[in-house]
């Protein structure tokens, strides 16, 4: 199974952040196909469609209207078909309590929204590389925690 295209989903209510994220994805070596959502509800409606091709990684902003990132995380971890999805929290909050709480609730990755485009690219690249190794190696996914 060669590395073809990774399917990625991002839910973020900030349009600029979505655009930056997409541009960063396009500039890295690993090929990705990204689906963007304006809030948690749109994302969850999509993920629970019948026959949908599930993304390899879901990036979630924490503060979103209608349905926030923590609610999405909770629903994903309690949904039989979604519970094994790799979830990355993508947030401006750097409060230790927030970070710990998302990990305890089952997030795999916590990314503090980087200040520069270069740092964002680097963070995304690190996440995708690691994700790929976890998909193809005998590494224990239950213990996959990463903070950037």
């Amino acid at each position: 199974m060669p590395l073809n295209t990774l399917n990625i989903a991002l839910a973020d209510d900030d349009e600029d952040d979505r655009t930056l994220f997409k541009e960063a994805m396009n500039e890295i070596k690993i090929k990705t196909k990204i689906s963007l959502f304006n809030n948690g509800k749109e994302l969850m409606d999509y993920l629970t469609l019948p026959n949908v091709i599930l993304p390899e990684i879901v990036f979630l902003d924490l503060n979103m209207p209608i349905k926030n990132g923590m609610q999405c995380l909770h629903e994903i971890r309690n949904h039989p078909r979604l519970q094994d999805l790799l979830v990355a929290i993508y947030s401006t909050s750097s409060s230790e309590a927030d970070i710990e709480e998302t990990f305890v609730n089952g997030a795999n990755i916590y990314i503090n929204k980087p200040n520069s485009f270069g740092d964002l690219k680097q963070a995304i690249e690190k996440v995708l590389q690691l994700n790929w190794q976890y998909h193809t190696s005998a590494l224990n996914k239950d213990n996959f925690l990463l903070r950037i």
């Binding site: 710990e100 990990f103 590389q129 005998a138 903070r147």
Partner: protein, 190 residues
């Protein structure tokens, strides 16, 4: 009601090998298992046999790879795991020599195949694998961090801690705290 937990330790190589043997025996062809990721047959399987094999093994999440480069990448990963698990190896060999001798290709060639297929280096994978084992050992809670560092051939406990932090973004103790809390919460929900 009194709750009781038991803890399991798996020998993944043995599990894989047993599954392979059971399924391949059902196929009725002569075979030899080289490591876990490579099987040699005494003749070329027919198309029907190949399909049957794919479906038998598919039940266990085992996939037949048709790309030789990916197969080589898999063998590199298996060798990395073996090398780390055998505590004596690092003292006798340096890793690149070990890998080159075992797989019979130059280390430069292996490195380039690996990087091309995974967008990451063999060295990175070694670190990832060592940290993965360190995580399991931390959670088993039988060994101190110093003992884990020694077991995984780190020069010191601070070297292990630093590599752990660099790889995961977390310190070993906050990692342990998070996983324990996660398990507690899962237990409470049941």
């Amino acid at each position: 009601m009194q709750l009781m937990r038991i803890y399991l330790k798996f020998d993944f190589n043995l599990i894989c090998k047993t599954v392979l043997q059971e399924q391949l025996d059902a196929l009725g062809m002569k075979y030899t298992i080289h490591g876990v990721g490579e099987i040699e047959f005494d003749r070329r399987p027919t198309l029907e046999e190949e399909q049957e094999m794919a479906s038998l093994l598919g039940n266990y999440g085992i996939e037949i790879m048709d790309d030789q480069q990916m197969a080589l990448v898999q063998r590199i990963k298996d060798s990395v795991t073996e090398w780390i698990n055998d505590a004596e190896n690092p003292k006798i060999y340096n890793f690149s020599t070990y890998l080159a001798e075992k797989l019979d290709y130059s280390y430069t060639y292996l490195s380039s195949v690996f990087s091309e297929a995974t967008y990451s280096s063999i060295e990175n994978f070694v670190i990832l694998k060592k940290i993965d084992i360190a995580k399991s050992l931390i959670l088993q809670n039988h060994l101190t961090l110093t003992e884990i560092a020694f077991k995984l051939n780190y020069s010191s406990v601070s070297h292990l801690s630093a590599q752990f932090k660099k790889t995961t973004g977390l310190t070993p103790s906050s990692f342990q705290k998070i996983i324990l809390k996660r398990k507690e919460r899962a237990l409470n929900q049941k």
